[in-house]
Every structure is written in C-alpha cells, then in structure tokens.
C-alpha cells in the first residue's frame, strides 16, 4: 500500500507577508514552513506506516525550487521519497493549476491514497483535493478526522452536524484530513540526518506530461487588487468597571447597534 502526501510550502503564519507589484505573492523574502495543516496529513500517513498498513510514504509538492526544503523537512519526519514539480510556467499558479499539476504527477506516481491537508494556510479555498479527485476520476474522502485503510477500501471518520459518519470508498482514492488526526511528530536529529540521503526528485512540467499551454498561463483567476482591510474605528474599551456597570455598558453598546 502506497500513500503520496501532497504538501505545500507556505509563508510562516506569523511572517510579514505582502503582494508584489504584479499582484503575485512575494514568496522569496519571507520565512517559509510546511503548510501547518499538511503536517497532519504527513502524521496520518506515518501512523499508517508505523502500523504496517502502508509500506511506502512519498511526498509531492509543486512550487519554486526552494520548496525542496519543505520536502526535506517532511522526509525528516519520516517517509521514503519526495518529488517536486517546479517550472517557470507555474509562477502565480492558482488552485486549478495546482490541482492540474498534482493530478498529473499523481497519475505518474499512482498511489493507493493521495493524501492532503484540509486547507492551505495562505489560500483557504480547500479546493485542491476535490479538483484532483475530479481530474483523476477517483473517489474523494474529505475532511477526515482519521483515515483507515483495508485491503481494497479507504474509510474516514468525518464530523457531521450532530456527530460523525464513517465514509467509505474503494481504493485508489484522494483524501484529506483535519487537525484531529493527532499532533504531528517532530523530526528527530536522526531523522534529519536520514532525510539527507532519501531520494528527492525534481520534475519539470514535461516530466509529468503537461505543457505550459494546457495550464492556460498557470491560472484561471487573476488578482486585480490587493489592499489592507478597511481601517476600523479604534477599539472602545471598558476597564475597571464593576460587573453591573460593565454589563449595562455592554448592553447599551449592543442596543445602540440594534443587536438586542
């Protein structure tokens, strides 16, 4: 059984981020990390490998050359091999183009499960897993709090409005998991050393059978403006007020805005 975990290198959550003059994200000057939500997918895959259910865990990323750092960090947590799709034609890729590239690379790697995080820290559309499933014509098991694998089926535990369901589909599948799979492990020193010797291949678009033309310029969407959020009026503060007075003032504030 083979899992390929798709990961994305993103600006650190706390980094100071900005858009370039051409309205693409400045990815060169900021500190980067593995998308924190992808670490849960890595953890889920490694747990299945630890349990002996899965015998190969590989990582796949699309991004600039420095995204190989994120793949090395993933390999330091565990797993066997990594693949980076990098190509000048992919600068400014949107979710559609990302899905297109990952789908083509996954066709080549042919895993039983293509596993992803539930969202990326920097875009938050959560559209890539479903789009990859549609492009590869495979079932989608999304937002799993846990992924389980048996001989020929995959199951996820997925929260619903009042509890949870177990959702099942025949392998191979595309799946995504949430932060409820459990805290991601840290890379050990031994893991970091071992990661340096694990295979990391870099592919261009042609290596996965795609042409720049098929990617329609790398995006079907374009950012036309990027602005800071509208400045809000300064925060009103209530401090050092006795509880009754504070309660009355909050109620007045709510009433003035017709909220009660």
């Amino acid at each position: 059984m083979k899992i390929v975990v798709c990961i994305k290198q993103v600006p650190a959550t706390t980094a100071d981020k900005r858009y370039e003059a051409d309205l693409t994200l400045d990815r060169a000057s900021v500190e980067t990390v593995i998308n924190p939500l992808d670490e849960y997918a890595i953890e889920q895959a490694l747990r299945l490998a630890d349990a002996g259910t899965v015998d190969e865990v590989a990582y796949l990323s699309m991004g600039p050359e420095q995204a190989s750092e994120a793949l090395r960090r993933a390999l330091a947590m565990g797993g066997d091999a990594a693949y980076l799709v990098t190509d000048a034609a992919l600068s400014g890729a949107d979710e559609w183009a990302t899905a297109k590239v990952l789908a083509a690379a996954l066709d080549k790697l042919a895993p039983d499960v293509a596993l992803m995080g539930m969202a990326s820290d920097d875009a938050r559309g959560s559209l890539v897993p479903g789009a990859v499933a549609a492009m590869r014509n495979l079932p989608l098991l999304s937002y799993g709090a846990e992924l389980r694998l048996e001989d020929s089926v995959a199951r996820i535990r997925r929260l619903n409005a009042s509890g949870h369901d177990i959702v099942e589909a025949p392998l191979p599948v595309v799946a995504s998991v949430t932060d409820q799979v459990g805290e991601p492990r840290y890379a050990s020193l031994k893991g970091i050393m071992a990661a340096k010797r694990k295979p990391l291949e870099t592919w261009a678009l042609s290596d996965i059978g795609l042409s720049a033309d098929e990617l329609q310029g790398g995006a079907l969407t374009k950012v036309t403006s990027a602005e800071p959020p509208q400045a809000k009026p300064p925060t009103e503060r209530i401090e050092n007020a006795p509880p009754e007075e504070a309660a009355t003032r909050i109620a007045d504030w709510l009433a003035a805005r017709k909220l009660i």
Partner: protein, 322 residues
C-alpha cells in the same frame, strides 16, 4: 453559455439549509445584473419535494437521498455547465462540490468571499487572504471557461422574506461512470451534545481557554440563549473536550460571519481570528488587557468573565422583557 446564476441548494431532513436560502437571494441579485435566471441545484434528503420553493426561477434536482454531498458533485457540474456563475456555500460539503466542478469543467474558482459582484458578465470576488492581512479582488482571466465557481461565506446574503416563487423543477440526468459517486456512509454516530449549525447563527457567543471548563460553557449558553444566538469555541476549548468539535471556530473549524460575535475568555490567536474576522461586530470580554483580541475587537471589556457574563445575561433578559 447562458447568463444564468446557479447555486447549490442543500437539503437535510426534508428542509433546505439556510445556506440554500441565502444563496438564492445572492443568485437573484446577480441574475438581475446578468439578465439571466437564478437556478437552484438541489440535493439531499427532501430536495425533490422542496426544490420548487427555495427562491429560484428554475430548479434542477441532483438527487433526493441522504448521502455524501460529493456524490452529487458530478451531476452538479453537468447541471452548471451552461451557467455564468455557480454559487456554493463555504462549508465542507459546498467546497467538495465546488472543487469537483472546478476540476471537472476546468473553470475558475474563488473564495471564500464575503462580497461578489457582476458588471455585465464580468465577475469580481472579494476575499480576505493571508490570514486576513490583505483583501484581494479577483476576476476570471480573459477567455476562462464558465461557470465561475464562487464559495460564499454564510450570512453574506440575506434570505428573501415571504413565500418564494415556485420554480420549474427538472430532474438532473444520472452521470454515467462516476467514481465520485461511490463514496458512501457505512456508519453514523450521533453525539450527546447535538450541535447547532454554527455557520448559520447570526449571533455567536464564543468561549476559549479562559472559560475554564464545560460548566463555564453553560454560563455562555445562557448568554447566547438570551441573545438568540449560538455558542462557539476556540480550538483550545474543543481540544480540552469542553465542547464538541462541531462548535470550533477558526482555521480548522467553522468559518463564521455573524452580525455579532462575542468572544469570552478567548485570546484571539490568528488561527481563531481567520474563522471570525468577517463578523460585523466583535465584542470581547477578557481579563488580560493585552489579549490580542483587544486589537481587533470593536468593544473590548477587560473584566473577569465569571462576574460580568451572568450580569450581562440578566441585563439582556431584562431589556427584552423575559
């Protein structure tokens, strides 16, 4: 391509979800701008019987069974193929379908947005990106195929009052050879604390680590009830087991857009903030005067929540005359 605005209308237990009624209002607005019709793509238990009345001019029933939303996605893509825009709720189910439509039809997708406009046939979607540090406006590239798929946050549109017009209803043809349709629920487990649909609440009282335990959340529930709202939580409170995960707001929980968000004992870490930053009014009660939530709240009350919240509940009940 038509000028029609399609929208996903999810049904559960025989009734349309609030998102269906909100998107119906949004689709009607956009259809007035494009000169097309608002078209409901209805799915889920009760969709066949209710599709005519969600507030669309036409309705296509994708299926009437209680099964995973993604199993309706291929039919949704085919039904939306000729539309100019497809609106989908920014919920897990809505995103799954939107993603499949984007991947199957190779069309642009946007969101989650809190504002969407059409100028003739040109769509502009506004969304908070990079954890809310930037508001971007996006459009389809020239020559992009349609429909443009737009994920819409709850409470972006207000459902129309009164009885909706009766739509012409048709049944979507089955999609042959659809692996996405093979996902099935094999077990279903209800948990004790049945949760409300937080995304649809217009008033949310959210509690964090400072609430201290499940008992503290009962205090918040009383305030929420007085305000006619629902209780939410930070990840810390859900991880601690004080409330079910269904109530978690934030990066890995619900993304909410209530008219009033009242955060109690919540520090306001960025992971929580991204789940509530589009709330119209933000009130915070926290005993730490330096809590980050104080920087983006509209009203910040530095106080012990256990003394203020019960008083506030009383005061609100008194003013409402209950």
């Amino acid at each position: 391509m038509s000028n029609d605005i399609a929208f996903l209308a999810e049904f559960a237990d025989g009734t349309p979800q609030r998102s269906a009624l909100e998107l119906a209002a949004g689709a009607a607005q956009l259809a007035a701008q494009s000169g097309g019709a608002a078209v409901a793509l209805a799915y889920g238990a009760g969709a066949a019987g209710g599709a005519a009345n969600v507030g669309a001019q036409r309705a296509v029933v994708l299926g009437d069974e209680d099964r995973p939303a993604v199993t309706y996605a291929a039919a949704a893509a085919e039904a939306a193929r000729d539309a100019l825009v497809l609106l989908a709720p920014a919920t897990p189910n809505g995103r799954d379908i939107a993603a499949v439509v984007m991947g199957r039809l190779n069309v642009p997708a946007f969101g989650p947005v809190s504002e969407v406009d059409l100028d003739g046939q040109t769509l502009t979607a506004k969304q908070a990106t990079l954890q809310g540090s930037v508001i971007t406006a996006s459009q389809p590239v020239d020559g992009a195929a349609t429909p443009s798929v737009v994920l819409v946050l709850a409470n972006t549109f207000t459902p129309a009052e009164g009885n909706a017009d009766t739509a012409d209803v048709s049944q979507a043809p089955a999609v042959a050879d659809d692996p996405l349709g093979t996902a099935k629920v094999v077990e279903s487990h209800a948990e004790e604390q049945a949760a409300v649909n937080l995304e649809e609440a217009t008033v949310i009282v959210a509690g964090g680590r400072g609430v201290g335990g499940a008992e503290g959340f009962e205090t918040l529930q009383e305030l929420a009830s007085a305000l006619g709202g629902a209780v939410g939580a930070s990840r810390a409170a859900a991880d601690a087991g004080w409330v079910p995960y269904q109530l978690q707001i934030g990066q890995t929980g619900k993304v909410v857009k209530p008219s009033l968000y009242l955060g109690v004992g919540i520090s306001g870490a960025i992971q929580h903030r991204v789940g509530m930053q589009t709330a119209e009014h933000v009130v915070a009660i926290n005993k730490d005067p330096d809590a980050p939530i104080g920087e983006f709240a509209d009203l910040f009350v530095v106080a012990d929540l256990f003394s203020v919240v019960p008083k506030l509940t009383e005061e609100i009940k008194r003013r409402k005359g209950v």
